[in-house]
Symmetry: C2
Subunit: 359 residues, 2 copies
């Protein structure tokens, strides 16, 4: 597939990824790490995945603290395409600023936002869905990709599919965005077939996004356009922007107003939310111990799970099922796949103890 005319990728590169401590740290978040073992960080894989669709039409929005690391990861990207937020203001500000910049650069632009720390294994399905979404977005819709659920996840929001979109085969209206459901509700969503995961992938014309925002919060939209017009104002205006997710600021009210479309797709998507998800991604469900890194460092006897050897030290694991061992130079984590969510509590305790050097 050739690149899509005037289609721009916006890549928000943020998020602490505390459930992936001690690999993921405040100073080196999840998106800077290679979590698939192919030698490319999640950020690099995200750019690799989008390059065929956008060529060099790309903006990365990241925290000031990570700008240098992002530039080092992406040597072929124009430094001007890496926008540094003075502080974290959630996704509406990050993606909205990119929209305001693109609105000025390219009147024909359609933008798609794709988080820097997700994985997609079926590139062809992803490209086809994005291509459809771009066509729908050109007609003025806010378009989202709706990911086929593979299990009754309670950690994601869902998209309730509405009627098919006339003139756009493969796209539907969004009946509603639904919050993270309880387990029994998630089971019903999975069985019913009318719900998709909301992975935060939005495709839209920048002006449409900002106008939708202006309909909810005119000042917010005006500030973003002001900063885009006078970048020097960034430091002065940014910290006063509302801290809100794009979903709440724009997508949910727009869906209620019948302005949002969805392209259902099964692109083998994963946000690698914790070590259990990482273990699944690396094939641990097939048995044995999966190693992210140099497998010659790991000695296994009578064990299953995931080992991340990160220091060159030999790691011996004997007699544990679904274990998770993560070895880094200053911290070692030993847990189980079933306890993967509790890893964020370790980070919280270390923070509370003042060990900012470790988180």
């Amino acid at each position: 597939m050739g690149s899509l005319e005037s289609f721009w990728a916006v890549i928000p590169a943020g998020g602490a990824g505390t459930r992936l401590w001690p690999v993921s740290r405040a100073a080196a978040p999840k998106f800077l790490h290679d979590l698939t073992g192919n030698g490319r960080s999640l950020l690099q894989q995200t750019v690799d995945r989008l390059a065929p669709l956008v060529g060099d039409r790309l903006l990365v929005v990241t925290g000031e603290a990570h700008r240098e690391a992002v530039l080092a990861e992406l040597p072929h990207v124009d430094p001007g395409a890496v926008v540094a937020e003075p502080s974290a203001r959630d996704s509406m500000a990050a993606i909205g600023l990119a929209a305001a910049m693109l609105e000025r650069v390219d009147p024909e632009a359609v933008m798609g936002s794709f988080a820097a720390d997700h994985v997609v294994t079926d590139t062809a399905a992803f490209e086809a869905a994005v291509s459809t979404a771009v066509e729908v977005a050109r007609d003025g819709w806010l378009v989202t990709l709706g990911i086929t659920p593979t299990h009754p996840a309670t950690g994601f929001g869902y998209i309730h599919l509405g009627a098919e979109l006339p003139g756009h085969p493969g796209a539907c209206q969004v009946a509603a965005f639904v919050e993270k459901p309880a387990a029994d509700v998630a089971e019903r969503y999975l069985a019913g077939g009318q719900h998709r995961w909301n992975a935060g992938m939005f495709v839209v014309r920048p002006g449409v996004l900002l106008d939708l925002l202006a309909g909810q919060d005119p000042e917010f939209a005006a500030r973003l356009r002001e900063i885009a017009a006078s970048p020097d104002l960034l430091g002065q205006l940014w910290d006063r922007l509302p801290r809100i997710a794009l979903d709440h600021a724009v997508a949910e009210p727009a869906a209620a107003a019948g302005r949002v479309a969805v392209v259902p797709v099964d692109p083998g998507w994963d946000d690698i939310g914790d070590y259990d998800a990482l273990a699944v991604l690396l094939g641990a469900d097939d048995g044995g111990v999966r190693v992210l890194g140099d497998a010659s460092l790991v000695d296994v006897d009578d064990a299953t799970g995931l080992v991340v050897p990160g220091t060159g030290r030999t790691v011996a694991v004997v007699g544990l099922d679904d274990v998770v061992v993560v070895d880094t130079p200053d911290a070692l984590l030993v847990t189980t796949r079933a306890h993967a969510q509790q890893v964020k509590d370790v980070v919280a305790r270390l923070k509370a103890a003042g060990r900012t050097d470790l988180v």
Copy 2:
């Protein structure tokens, strides 16, 4: 208790301790490590325990490779009291050489052999039993301490108690030494009350020991006396000595001949055979995670077991019961108390892979 006249301690300091890898290594075996957390190595604790009984009447027999380390651990011990074996020839050669040396030094000597890597928590009971054993040994008996079993161990040999020894309250004859039993046999031994653990603690006059050996293997005893008379012959004669345990070479046949006595005692003895034993010793059966080392390095949530932080790194353990985590600069072990015996297999695999640097 004052020191016992002409009583000498012989401390064989050997054994690989592979089930305590990666703490215990060929280059730094178990006896060189502090496994109780009191700041003293097991060797130092053994010397500390015996000093009140023997003063400076002490011989340590160790491998040539460990002589410097032993001297460094024992700065107050005369270097001449640390005997280096050119190669490992098992306990008969090691203790027999000490006997041959003491026979020449002190005609009144009674010697007691006590391994360098065991622990004893009830010092008073230990001292009283040794004192009784010394008195019995002066009458020409080979005397052993018989440890009260605390569980039906299958990893130790047992001593079957015989009749009480006339004139020596607290001592019995040994009916027989029994090999490591099967589990059901061990249960019977424990229930019956007539069996004690054989901890390899022998108290005997050096000449009696060597004469008993001469009764079984005259050349072996002659060689040992030859080396003691001409220490220069050590390098030439040592490697030709039989590789046999004192139990088999002397104690078992002597018991069959009615020449062995036993002093039953419950000194809180442990040979810390593996990480499960170490966990018990450190109180892990009372719940929670026990830390051998700096507890401030360990973050625990919903876990029990044993953590040995050995690198200054933070160790987080979440959601594992009876886990064993041992952190060293070049190797990390993660296992469970129930799999503690399998740790030696890790060492065997590393050796087979040529990783002598790690074992």
